[in-house]
């Protein structure tokens, strides 16, 4: 089967690519565009390591097909920092030691950013339920939750 030509916007830049009909958005990001910050932990939408924003909505990129991307907007972990300025969430994850191995971290950051854009003042329970689609096996979640709550508090203050 021939490849599909797709025009899309990724992290603010126009991007064109060719993909097989069965390639997922995650496959395209990782294998065609070499944006390997989004990770594959399960390929079934259970782990959240591939979380990206698609037209402003948080999705698992392993559950979206590449050809669906035409004319749409994708934001990945690679677009989260601005120039040499880390996003406050990235900074707080570092300060709180909210990562150990770091494989789940890009997904958590993308998901947490989506939460704070929707709800700048979440409770601990709200953070925990929002992030329930992101698996972390190292941290026990404690420091991740604290980092998100601390970021929310700081961003509200500024």
């Amino acid at each position: 089967m021939s490849k599909t030509h797709v025009s899309t916007t990724i992290n603010g830049d126009p991007v064109e690519f060719l993909c097989e009909p069965e390639q997922t958005l995650l496959d395209v990001l990782r294998d065609e565009l070499y944006l390997t910050g989004s990770k594959e932990g399960c390929a079934s939408g259970d782990c959240g390591a591939c979380s990206v924003m698609l037209d402003g909505r948080l999705v698992c990129s392993c559950l979206v097909l590449g050809p669906e991307l035409n004319g749409r907007t994708v934001e990945t972990i690679e677009g989260m920092a601005t120039g040499d300025q880390l996003h406050p969430l990235q900074q707080k994850f570092l300060e709180h030691a909210a990562l150990q191995c770091g494989i789940c971290t890009p997904g958590f950051l993308v998901a947490a950013k989506a939460l704070l854009e929707k709800n700048p003042d979440p409770t601990e329970t709200e953070v925990r339920y929002w992030l329930a689609g992101n698996l972390c096996r190292c941290t026990g979640y404690d420091k991740i939750i604290r980092a998100v709550l601390d970021t929310a508090s700081e961003m509200r203050g500024s």
Binding site: Y34, L94, G133, C138, T139, G140
Partner: protein, 765 residues
């Protein structure tokens, strides 16, 4: 080698050790830059895929790969015929042993498929779609055999035999018939029968645990590139690239020097990435195809084909006097090894009663093969299973004696000088300190709500040292590059940089730590056994001391005074006293920039077999709430107390405590391999094999106890494994406190809890 830093003197003046700076690899990991196993690509790379057996037990009569080989885009197909057979030989692998005869059969089935998911062939093709299509064209003729999944079933005399030549070791006289029991081990002290005679109360119970998977979020991945001159490069996600090199060289018949292995960033391991699966296959495919080959497992493959830890049947008996002194303790452990011998039953036996000072102990263990994936190390391999049973019985005994469970443990706790049942006498250890900390913790005093219960349990793990190399290059501007050989799985680069900065007397951010590849450093054993910060830390300090000696020599040269007239203080060379002369102190940077004129590069290089690893004890405290209508157990409060020796970077020590506790919560309440009657795993995905998510757990409080390890320059013990030992028993004890029902089977999942509640109410059927 000198260990110049005295703990007592140093405790007051540490500048870096014990602080919480941002980790050196942090920015790469929050921006998506960090390269994990599957993130590595090389030009001209092929994609490798594995064909896996659907049969839990079957003879492999023939494999026809001709159609797959003929498919356009297929560059190589390998089967058992491409892997040389190997003789039985046991080699140490962390806390366990491996056998090459079994390893080569585990990476590629030979005579038989021994579990659902066992590799039978592998393909390298120009892309994944072609590779997957090729797998479907491989014809394997199987002759299915009866299988056995359960450990007790596998021990029955008429059980299907996995290996016709398996004669149980450790039994006198030697059995004449093969069985599924590979070995029997026994540890003990004193006379248990006499000890039980002195007991006023005896509790005896049997427990069952299910295999659980390490559940690292990153599937196994590697890229192998074999060249025409017989050299190879391998990039992979591993806890020990030197160990990978050893195994691959043996399996491919290569010189060790011809394989260069680079460890990628590792997306979790917990013991599960101490062994090889894809790596030898990728090398063999690359050799056959002449092109680099990338292989990445799917999550389904991770569950079906990589090692979880053992499921087990555990029997425990403990007796005590009315006033709370344990008189005897006995246990029998039957651990599943999976398809090949080598469960962690031996460390399980050794750990079982280690937290207690006992005169009469006997522990017997059996290593049993079943038609499941071969188990791999999982965080304190073997310990959580045996200590779960023991800590439940200890709790029940305390209650029967009407004693506080912490007091009961304190009365019997192991301390410095205690003769452990597995052999050694303990040096300074911190179990009593953890129990005292629990007793005085606010958590222990708060009132419980309705349907809530509180549980406590202690845990012990040995920790190990071993072969370790570190290179410390003092750069010309006074910064330092530190190269270690233990892959950084949870922040160890930060800890090593802190110890280097502390010893050299320079700022933390002047030290840049990296993980060297196998051709850049001498043999370094893997990240496991909680050894990375301990062993590489010890080697780092020694490398820094070597660099300091050289820095002093250079200062002496510049000042034209004897070498022994120079001392190193606060990152500066200084004259040792008035007689040495009057010179302005020279900083590390001052000396480094003149290195070319004073004798050349300044490097500290350490090669040690790190000795003096010291055990870490922990005690966990947990409150649960049971929904009596749904049978769901919710952890509402959790406190981990553990002896770290010295917390070099306390945030990552807390992280180990918290992560271990939550893995333990999963083991206690949810996680299990579910098998159908067909011997196939039914839940090989994160939807059905449910690890804890953020909304399942509360914040995990931590208390770091520091009873320094006198054998380490900064007192480090190693902390990574102990935290997963107490949770299962602590939670079971809390559930018993809430319901008055004792569970003896893991996981305590809602259907089982509900059934028990209904049975207790007389409403069950």
């Amino acid at each position: 080698m000198s260990q110049a830093l005295k703990l007592d003197d140093k405790a007051q003046e540490l500048k870096w050790v014990g602080t919480r700076p941002v980790r050196p690899d942090g920015v790469d990991k929050v921006t998506g830059r960090a390269k994990f196993g599957a993130d590595f690509n090389v030009p001209g790379m092929l994609t490798g895929k594995v064909l896996r057996s659907p049969h839990p037990h079957a003879l492999i009569k023939s494999i026809d790969t001709s159609k797959a080989e003929a498919l356009p885009g297929v560059k190589a197909v390998i089967t058992r015929d491409d892997m040389q057979d190997m003789a039985s030989e046991f080699v140490p692998a962390g806390e366990m042993l491996v056998n090459y005869r079994d390893m080569v059969r585990n990476v590629m089935a030979r005579e038989k498929s021994l579990y659902d998911g066992h590799a039978v062939a592998a393909v390298a093709a120009t892309n994944a779609a072609v590779a997957l299509k090729a797998l479907k064209l491989i014809k394997v003729e199987y002759e299915p055999l009866p299988h056995v999944i359960d450990v007790l079933e596998a021990m029955k005399p008429d059980a299907p035999l996995l290996h016709d030549d398996m004669i149980t070791e450790g039994v006198e006289p030697k059995p004449s018939k093969a069985s599924n029991v590979s070995k029997r081990v026994e540890f003990g002290l004193g006379d248990v029968a006499a000890g039980f005679d002195k007991a006023d109360v005896i509790i005896e119970r049997a427990f069952d645990t299910k295999p659980v998977h390490q559940g690292y979020i990153e599937p196994h991945a590697c890229v192998a590139s074999y060249t025409e001159d017989g050299q190879a490069e391998l990039w992979c996600s591993t806890q020990g690239h030197f160990v990978v090199r050893t195994h691959c060289a043996r399996m491919l018949g290569m010189d060790v020097s011809k394989i260069r292995v680079t460890a990628s960033e590792i997306g979790g391991g917990f013991g599960g990435k101490t062994v090889v699966y894809l790596e030898p296959l990728a090398l063999a495919l690359s050799r056959k195809s002449g092109a680099p080959v990338k292989m990445v497992m799917s999550r389904d493959e991770v569950f079906r084909a990589t090692g979880p830890t053992s499921g087990a049947h555990v029997w425990v008996k403990v007796g005590a006097t009315k006033d709370g002194r344990i008189t005897a303790a006995e246990a029998e452990l039957k651990y599943q090894a999976g398809a090949f011998q080598g469960s962690p039953v031996q460390p399980g036996c050794m750990c079982a009663f280690a937290p207690y000072d006992l005169e009469n102990v006997k522990v017997v263990g059996y290593d049993v093969v079943t038609n499941r994936p071969k188990v791999a190390a999982y965080r304190a391999p073997g310990g959580p299973i045996s200590e779960y049973g023991v800590e439940c019985v200890i709790d029940e005994l305390a209650r029967k004696l009407d004693l506080d469970p912490v007091e009961f443990r304190l009365q019997n706790a192991a301390k410095e000088g205690t003769h452990a049942a597995y052999g050694p006498k303990f040096g300074p250890i911190g179990l009593v300190e953890t129990l005292d900390a629990v007793k005085s913790h606010d958590h222990y005093k708060t009132k419980l709500g309705p349907n809530q219960g509180r549980g406590v349990a202690s845990g012990f793990w040995f920790n190990i040292g071993g072969e370790t190399c570190v290179a410390l290059n003092i750069n010309e501007d006074g910064s330092a590059t530190l190269m270690a050989g233990t892959p950084d799985i949870g922040g160890s680069r930060a800890s090593l940089a802190l110890m280097a900065a502390e010893t050299l007397g320079i700022d933390y951010d002047k030290v840049r730590p990296i993980i060297g590849d196998t051709s850049s450093l001498g043999y370094t054993f893997l990240t496991g056994g909680s050894r990375a910060t301990f062993s590489s830390g010890m080697a780092t300090v020694e490398a820094a001391q070597e660099a300091i000696r050289e820095l002093c020599v250079r200062a002496a040269k510049i000042w034209e005074i004897p070498e022994d007239a120079v001392v190193w203080e606060d990152g500066h060379a200084k004259p040792a006293g008035k007689n040495a002369g009057d010179f302005e102190p020279m900083s590390l940077a001052d000396i480094a920039k003149m290195a070319g004129k004073t004798g050349g590069p300044i490097v500290g290089y350490t090669k040690i077999n790190a000795q003096g690893a010291a055990p870490s004890f922990g005690t966990h405290l947990v409150d649960v709430e049971v929904d009596k209508e749904l049978g769901r157990v919710t952890v509402v409060r959790y406190t981990v107390v553990q002896d770290a020796g010295k917390a070099v970077h306390p945030a990552y020590v807390e992280g180990q405590f918290q992560g271990g506790a939550v893995q333990g919560i999963g083991w206690a309440l949810n996680e299990e391999y579910v098998y159908g009657k067909d011997g196939r795993m039914q839940n090989p995905g994160f939807l059905d094999y449910r690890i804890p998510v953020a909304s399942d757990v509360p914040m995990i409080d931590t208390v770091i106890v520091e009873v320094p390890n006198p054998r380490h320059p900064y007192g480090v013990r190693g902390v990574g494994e102990t935290p997963i030992i107490p949770p299962m028993a602590a939670i079971a004890n809390a559930v018993a406190d809430a319901l008055g029902i004792r569970f003896s089977e893991l996981p305590m999942s809602p259907p089982k809890v509900l059934k028990a509640i209904e049975a207790a109410n007389g409403a069950g059927d």
